[in-house]
Symmetry: C2
Subunit: 545 residues, 2 copies
């Protein structure tokens, strides 16, 4: 049994044969170092003494048995395979097991106590956690912009977790420093850049914030030291369909939400370049200094793509940083058929792209890509911590990329994407993207054939937005309380489907429109059967409304 | 074979017997929906056609075989057990396999191509990634403030990755919304608070930024909307030993690094409260408005604990927000023996605490804890996105905690800590903390017994800072180039140990002191053998210097 501890109990082997390397043991028996009073026989030893008496034995083991650690992990992995990978992805199982919060608290027994629990109890806890969690890998989980389970990506995540390192230096993350650069290079190439910079961030919101911070720093490098008070009032521009992280970011970065100027969108949710031009002039007239436009490729609700070429023209004319929030739509760049939706993205200064969404890589995997080749990222964020980024290291310290970010420790987010890409190839990923588009189109066509379904608009991406009009409201459009009553349908059906566990799909109001469903086709395991199921299930759940 | 796809090929079982629920299949054969030109027999079909022809078959499977997904994951898990959990934690194996960057690039073959690879290739890639990665779980990895491998925490991470959800709503993370609250409650109780708020952040740097943003918002709620330009110049205070994230945060939040006023520390690295008082008066005299003091519990290099009671007195006198950056030292609160080092922490307004460091929970697990009970977190960061935080949901929407944060999607960081705590109990975790202290003390005492080792100072925590003085420099203290030559020793020894793979320990210059080693005792698997090894190995590596 070559467990982690077994080898610690006997003199250690030389790990590098041929190199003189002798391991010396502390020959003396364990002794109390700190405690002034050691316990004598017959007296109950104090906890402190016990601790010190024990300190020559490692604590990693479970009950002193090194094999138990492996056994535990084998058992937990077996549960994961059975309950998540097998049942969780099966359409014949529930997508969720709804419990009211108070009941769930009781079922989970969440309290953290002084006493530890047995291995059997721990395994039962893992089962309970999985049982009552929503299965985002289930083929009827349509609720978010992420779903599905890619086995290669999950394999990458498990390896990542087992290696447990931070992305900051080549010293402790040699593989991942090089791998991150290679993955970012590939993503940049798909944007259309042969050079540039980038980094993986903890989510698209923070990627967007990075873009905002970089844009203001590039224009006013003083800002880093002297702050926003040293600057004129700044203005940034985004459409009313943008993700809410733009406003959150403006507040967090000290710009204030007022600095976000909202540009009108057309009826399909695309930014209107003429209104952008107008808003820029307006801001300037009010004394603000425009510095950034954030366009969106794949809006959250409607899945709209802003016209990047026209927006880039405006940015060029006014000398503004163009950021493209392609957190959702960026993966479309993989498709030769559909990538025209992002035409002009190569003219951006920065792009946020979350492969954890449409590519099912797993939360989180969000790339901020930059066209910059002047080391802007490091100049903007660097602080040269001397305990981490020593300049007298024996290797090329430009490989220590950790000073590019505002985090210190940073998770490894590249391996899961890299491994999945190696397995699927770019072709396999392209096929997935194309299939998602095809299924969304299929759903839209099927939906038109049925009474009781109404598209909000023709989908251009994999968001299919529609109303379910229940029998009692059919043919009543135009009646005074129609909209109000229709808006109540989605919340009622949502409750029914969740409590039944049959599927999950999101809804929202939008502008002047009342609640409608937003179907998201992202899980690569989806088929037409799942699209048909969605429609049938809504019909059934809503038949008495 | 009940794989994820098997059930999709036959009519689906009712998932909730007793409820009328009929699954309807699309009876018609797969047909082309979009493509205008379908391929005829004998002609090579276009990719586009293939895609659409294929779209009734799911893509999740590996080569159409649903069992292959499970098999892959089983194989990868087997590799993880062998290579990381068994060998990676074994002292008889190397802690790292050093390769020069260019050679490593060749070995890894990082390029992402169009073609996918076979399962055998993918498994070999997993092996290579592990082989060339640093084993942070190895008992001779002393390089960072995190190390070791807790099997329960890793089990929690694997379950987390398999469930792949986001922490934002009760709807899609019912278990984790409740669990996060319970874990935060426990951490708050250890701080000394019976109520409050909090959230897990992607690392301590961002937890610290949150504290800064909350403090300014509490004082100037206008800031969220109107930005920093609407405010007087602000000043925050921290000691020269603080983590570099305070300055990074000030820059990112638009305050500018100049807003960070540096307070003197004593010879042990602790903030001097009298100088804090002095700096506050100075800032006020210069027209700045003090708003926050960031004290540190467990500084990065020396492991110093700022005197919180005295600092809290100063904050109280001046009405300042007291943040305690206890990212490193927070876990000491678990120890009845040592928690006095943080006396006064209950008087803080906010605390950052990273269980991923001393408790070996795995990257990342960083809690921001708040004493506030006025919903400050949500008021400061909330933006009420209507597509996510619908107010007409069928459950209590205060459970949708996602609007408390500046992220949108947010990883589940609570399960790994919760599961480890359930298994170890608070007692087991306390024992680990106490053992780390005892081992650090043991190392310091052993070090004093040997010629050629010099403590920078007596450790008060688990950071043991010392110089290794090689034979050629012994007895030469005071000679003109002594300091300069001594400073070159650590980088040379670091190169030797990394290339040999025997161990990893960090070094840094600090103030006027030249490079010294910082030993960190955090891995719960450490024993005195490992401390002795460290000393012996340095003696051997440096014998010819």
């Amino acid at each position: 049994m070559a467990g982690p501890l077994a080898s610690r109990q006997k003199p250690e082997r030389q790990f590098a044969p041929g190199q003189a390397h002798t391991c010396v043991f502390s020959e003396s028996p364990p002794k109390l170092i700190v405690s002034p009073a050691s316990s004598s026989l017959g007296q109950k030893p104090e906890l402190k003494d016990l601790i010190l008496m024990a300190d020559s034995k490692p604590l990693l083991s479970l009950d002193g048995d090194p094999a138990a650690a492996e056994a535990l992990l084998q058992d937990v992995f077996g549960i994961v395979v059975d309950e998540v990978i097998r049942k969780g992805t099966s359409a014949s199982e529930k997508v969720c097991e709804w419990k009211e919060p108070e009941e769930l608290k009781q079922l989970l027994d969440l309290e953290l106590r002084s006493e530890g629990e047995s291995q059997e109890q721990i395994l039962e806890r893992c089962r309970a956690v999985i049982r009552y969690s929503v299965k985002t890998c289930h083929p009827r989980f349509f609720n978010q912009l992420f779903s599905g389970l890619d086995p290669h990506a999950l394999a990458g995540r498990i390896v990542t977790e087992s290696l447990n390192t931070s992305q900051y230096t080549y010293e402790i993350a040699p593989v991942f420093v090089l791998m991150e650069e290679e993955v970012l290079k590939k993503l940049r190439a798909l944007v259309g850049w042969s050079s540039g910079d980038g980094v993986f961030c903890p989510g698209g919101s923070i990627s967007n914030m990075y873009a905002m911070n970089l844009a203001r720093y590039q224009r006013y490098p003083d800002c880093k030291q002297r702050g926003l008070r040293a600057l004129p009032p700044l203005a940034l521009f985004t459409s009313k369909e943008c993700h809410y992280s733009i406003k959150k970011g403006a507040a967090f970065l000290g710009l204030g939400t007022d600095s976000v100027r909202i540009v009108q969108a057309d009826e399909r949710g695309k930014m209107i370049p003429e209104d952008l031009e107008q808003q820029i002039r307006l801001a300037e007239a009010e004394g603000a200094v425009p510095f950034l436009v954030s366009a969106t490729s794949g809006t959250t609700v409607l899945g709209a793509f802003d016209p990047l070429e026209a927006i880039a023209d405006v940015c060029q004319r006014h000398g503004l940083w163009l950021h493209v929030d392609a957190a959702w739509g960026g993966s479309v760049l993989l498709s030769q058929t559909h990538r025209h939706l992002l035409d002009g993205i190569q003219r951006a200064d920065s792009v946020a792209w979350n492969p954890h969404k449409l590519l099912s890589v797993g939360l989180q995997c969000s790339a901020l890509l930059l066209r910059d080749t002047s080391n802007l990222l490091k100049r903007c964020h660097g602080s040269q911590a001397s305990y981490l980024f020593q300049q007298d290291k024996f290797y090329d310290v430009t490989l220590d990329t950790g000073d590019k970010v505002v985090q210190c420790g940073r998770r490894v987010d590249c391996l899961k994407l890299w491994l999945m890409w190696k397995a699927q190839g770019g072709q396999g990923l392209e096929r997935r993207v194309d299939q998602a588009f095809a299924l969304a189109r299929y759903l839209a066509e099927e939906l038109k054939k049925r009474e009781g379904f109404e598209l909000v608009m023709e989908p251009e991406f994999v968001n299919v937005c529609f109303w379910f009009v229940p029998p009692s409201l059919r043919g009543k459009k135009g009646s005074p309380d129609y909209n109000e009553r229709l808006a109540k349908v989605a919340p009622i059906l949502k409750e029914s489907m969740v409590k039944k566990g049959s599927m999950m799909i999101g809804y929202q109001p939008h502008g002047t429109r009342g609640n409608f469903f937003r179907m998201v086709v992202a899980n690569p395991a989806l088929t037409r059967v799942d699209m048909d199921f969605l429609l049938n299930e809504l019909e059934q759940l809503g038949q008495d409304l």
